[in-house]
Amino acid sequence: MSFLEGFVQGIVLLGSVLGVVAYLTWFERKFSGRLQSRIGPYWVGRPHGWLQPIADGLKLLAKEDLTPLKGDGLLFNLAPVWVVVISFLGFAFLPFTSNWVLVNIDLGLLYFSAFGSLIVVGVFVAGWSSNNKYALISALRTAAQMVAYEIPLVLSLLVPAVLVGSLDFKDIVEAQREGWFVFFPFVGQVSILVFLLSALAEGNRIPFDLPEAESELVAGFSVEYSGMKFAYFYLGEYVHLLAVSLLTSILFLGGPDGPLFQGGIWVAIKTLAVFVGILWIRWSFLRLRIDQMMLLNWKFLTPLGLLNLLIAGLWASLNYT
């Protein structure tokens, strides 16, 4: 792949992720509307407010951009950029079909989780540099939560890798032609459960959205942000969510493998299904408290993830010698 070719592919990927994310927000608003016996966006672009994401984007662009006088201006402005860039970088390693991936390396999974764990830096810096007490508390919560949930997340991500014996997404997808990992007895189900729970916590989604708990901390780390900088955090969150859904479909649900035909369509369908599941959880659960959330992690998810990894390792060592 020449530089130019890679560049163009990268731009296309970036653009399509942006577009998909914009319409995922629209989808979420329609979905939650239905769930709450409302209609959701309707008037901006008939039918069913299809122009709403674009209108919102323009609105956010036109909004006044404030930087707190007593905050750390440089870090304050850098944090949203960091969050967005890092969330997008993870996409470079994800295979969208069985034969197309932007950056083709055999350590894709490792890179992906490494980039995922860097988001916390941006969020923490945002909370810290705002010089706001709510943002500060939120930043401290974020640090505790995201670092803690990193552990079960990686533990559950490692299970497919151990079962296959490779960190390459392509190998993992290939290995699932015989059977999706979600159907792998015990190990598969436990690891998808642990993965989704900790991914929700990583992405600050309800029931783990403590960093931006708006009934306690108003808006948490993003309380001082306005306009496009705020939109960056929002974008980062949705990109992360999309990445999680995509990763679930690739690691556990067989990726492009499916009945009748094979290919990217199946990835899209599975991703959307996981995304809907996450939305459903969001719009029907209440929020946990910080101590309860940490207990869930250290006393339940981490031991379970470790045990699961151990079983997967035993299985793998028995089968691959």
């Binding site: 500060l136 708006e214 009934s215 306690e216 029907s284 659960f285 929020r287 408290r289």
Partner: protein
Amino acid sequence: MEERVVEREFGELALNMGPQHPSTHGVFRLQLHLRGETIVKVVPHIGYLHRGVEKLSETLDYDMLPPVYERDDYLSPTSNSLAFVLAVERLAEIEVPRRASYLRIVVAELQRIASHLVWLGTFGLDLGGALGGGATLFLYCFRERERILDLMESLTGTRFHTNMNQIGGVRYDVYPEFDKEVIETLNYIENRVREYREALDANPVFLERTKGIGIVPPWLAREVGASGPVLRGSGIQYDLRKNKPYLSYPEFEFEVPVGKEGDVYDRYSVRVEEMVESARIVRQAIEGLPEGPIHSRKPLKSATLLKPPKKDVYVAVESPRGELGMYVVSDGSSKPYRVKVRSPSFSNIALIPHILPGHLVADAVAILGSLDPVFGDVDR
């Protein structure tokens, strides 16, 4: 006097929750002193919604005041005007026809249901945030409440500030299909409330967040003068409708639900039970609605003609939030000499500095929500 917030000790963070905050249920400022996320000290600040109704009362005639008092506690307007109207009736020794008394109960109890529905919805917001499951509960509860408001609209022409209570009776009589519509609405709401209760009681996150949190021991509830569901949540069976009956309440059969532990969950549970009991009362009142006039006074040419004798009375009713008392002093003129409102929210939020320390910030929101303060009622 503006009190400055300073961090007094190293490691202690003073956090101003309010006056503008999504979950203080109005304009209320909690000055929280935090150590980490644990609250060590709380100083509540009230008065941001002071509208001077008590002083205003001294310049208005008695007949002008019930609508003013409806704006006091803006989630249950009827109980406020009811308390005032009862007080003036006792002052001027006006008898109220039985039919009027029944109709007052119907409206008051329907609004109790509406008020508790608002509470349940906003409690969901407190626990789950406006961008999640809490909002779902909130919107469901408001959809149910809408039915009651529609009913009020067809009865009185106003959705919310019904202006039903009038000195000497009620302003509007029921129309022919009213009873059928009420029963239908009650059936609907009862089913829904039962459904939400089941869903919430089966929700581990909800239970985790409410059980064992914000325990109000009975002695403390007595000490600060808490009343209503807060007092009953602590296990004290005290309901003015039973203990110091007014209107025709003794003629109805209903239970007074009480809690055991006095935690947030018990207060929730008491309120949900109360909705069912209120529905029971409304059913009985609608079925046994006596015939007769709806008010006992002849229309006056001018509001200044109502001049109660020189004396003072204290009348209390059970509002959705607790004991709502009106102390009215008459000097023999057509305007009250002094009105003092004993508002339930004011006494209930006096619990805050006693029960918040030791909890986390998230619990502060849940506990405050469970006390169901209405700041129009606190600050008046």
